[in-house]
Amino acid sequence: MVEVGVKLALSLTQIAVVMGVVLLTVMFLTLAERKVLGWMQDRMGPMEVGPYGILQPVADGLKLFFKEDIVPAGANKFLFSMAPLLALVPALIGFAVIPFGPDLTVEVFGVQFKPFVISDINVGILYILAFTSIGAYGIILGGWASNSKYSLLGGLRSAAQVISYELNVGLAIVGVLLLAGSLSLVKITEAQTGWFWNWFIIAPPFPQIFAFVVYVISAVAETNRLPFDLPEAESELVAGFFTEYSGMRFAFFFLAEYANMILVSCIAAALFLGGWNAPAPFLQFHGSLAHLLWLSATIWFAVKVYFFLFLFFWLRATLPRLRYDQLMRFGWKVMLPIALGNILITAIAAYLFPRS
């Protein structure tokens, strides 16, 4: 009984810490995005709230709290209130299987406890894919329940886009799964220890570079970010699926978008860039400092995740939005064959030269 209690307490603390870190990162990202975008466009970004505008996320959050919560006439109230939750919860729930640091086991009050992964389930990546698909329902239902043509168009576009690009995400990952021989993100990360050429993006003799490119492009499309932000498309559809949302419900959609960005960045880092592994073994704490390994490992993981997040901003500053038919053609006629070919070649290579 005590054991169950300790386990529960440990898990809840872990969940609270991870959620706290994710939400703080989201706060930071909203500022960082506006700043980076501004700098790239020779602007300054937010400068008014606090020194150099660093308190802008706080001001935004307060504003969203105190805004009026409007439900449009003719909207389906139940689905209208549920859609933001349906978008946010799957985005946050995926962090349960991400390994943020080395696979250590600590014993606390006689309970085995892994501090850097909330739950190491053996179908980790499948679990994330399943839940991100549910997140698409939030967007579609939000668009439909608003009783607005712009919202509905945004929701429909999102449905088509997410279906086409989920497929590519799934297929791009298969190559890595073939090499790692596991669906658990902890095992996949462990298979990439050592030097940087063990990372699955390089991993001779079967580099997953094509899968990586397919994954990154599809991940951008899946999170509805520019240049694939057709569901929002502010120049065509006002704000797409969340046109009618205001106040905290809008904030939930916003949080979901950024949490999804962090999630796909974490997956990309864990699957292709070695997760918490350093490019070279001597760049981690080792030898006499081996007990601090977790520190350097989490820092390496954060560096990789932030690189991807920066890439999201960078692409947004650079590229214009795709046309709808271009998006579909690119997804089905270019990305899908590349992903399938990658699976075929990786499967053959993995059969001929099995990894020890």
Binding site: D42, R43, L319
Partner: protein, 181 residues
């Protein structure tokens, strides 16, 4: 053939996108914002800046306007309304008893300033005239004179004191200096 292969290579490595991303990254690294933090920093205005209109006075505090209505006639958007009257007790002189400007309509062309025969109108360099009520932009003579007072602290002498032997509107002969005989 070589061209085709080159084009194909450029496509598969996303050459154009990389060029674009290079451009944005260069702007990030050589960050030189062109933003002016407006309420905190302000532009240097050119000397000929045409801002808020104002009525002027001579250095003895008498207003310059002679109520001739030429500004009203010159104004293309009918901003100005002048009600002219004799100066009480001096039948040769006229002045603007009432003078109104509806600044909501003004397009700051400066034609009224050019039309004025006594330089009674001036364009200041004020431009921060946002108000909450449109009626606050319907200015009367006192308000326009106040704008002129704060924008042009150095006032002109009376015309007849500036140049001897000029005949102008509104010349009060009592003020003329004695002629050199």
């Amino acid at each position: 053939m070589a061209m085709k292969i080159k084009a194909w290579l450029k496509t598969i490595i996303f050459y154009e996108i990389l060029v674009g991303m290079n451009a944005t990254l260069r702007h990030l690294l050589h960050y030189k914002p062109i933003t002016l933090q407006y309420p905190h920093e302000k532009r240097t205005l050119p000397d000929s800046y045409r801002g808020m209109l104002s009525l002027l006075r001579y250095d003895d505090g008498i207003e310059k306007c002679v109520g001739c209505d030429l500004c009203e006639a010159a104004c293309p958007s009918r901003v100005i309304k002048v009600i002219s009257a004799e100066v009480p007790g001096e039948p040769t002189k006229r002045y603007a008893k009432e003078y109104y400007m509806d600044m909501t309509r003004c397009l700051f062309c400066g034609l009224c300033v050019q039309a004025c025969p006594v330089d009674a109108l001036g364009m200041t360099r004020e431009y921060e005239w946002a108000v909450y009520d449109k009626r606050h932009l319907y200015l009367n003579k006192e308000q326009l004179l106040a704008i002129g007072d704060r924008a042009f602290p150095v006032r002109e002498k009376r015309l007849e004191l500036q140049h001897p032997n000029v005949a102008f509107f509104n010349v009060a002969f009592t003020h003329l200096p004695p002629k050199n005989s």
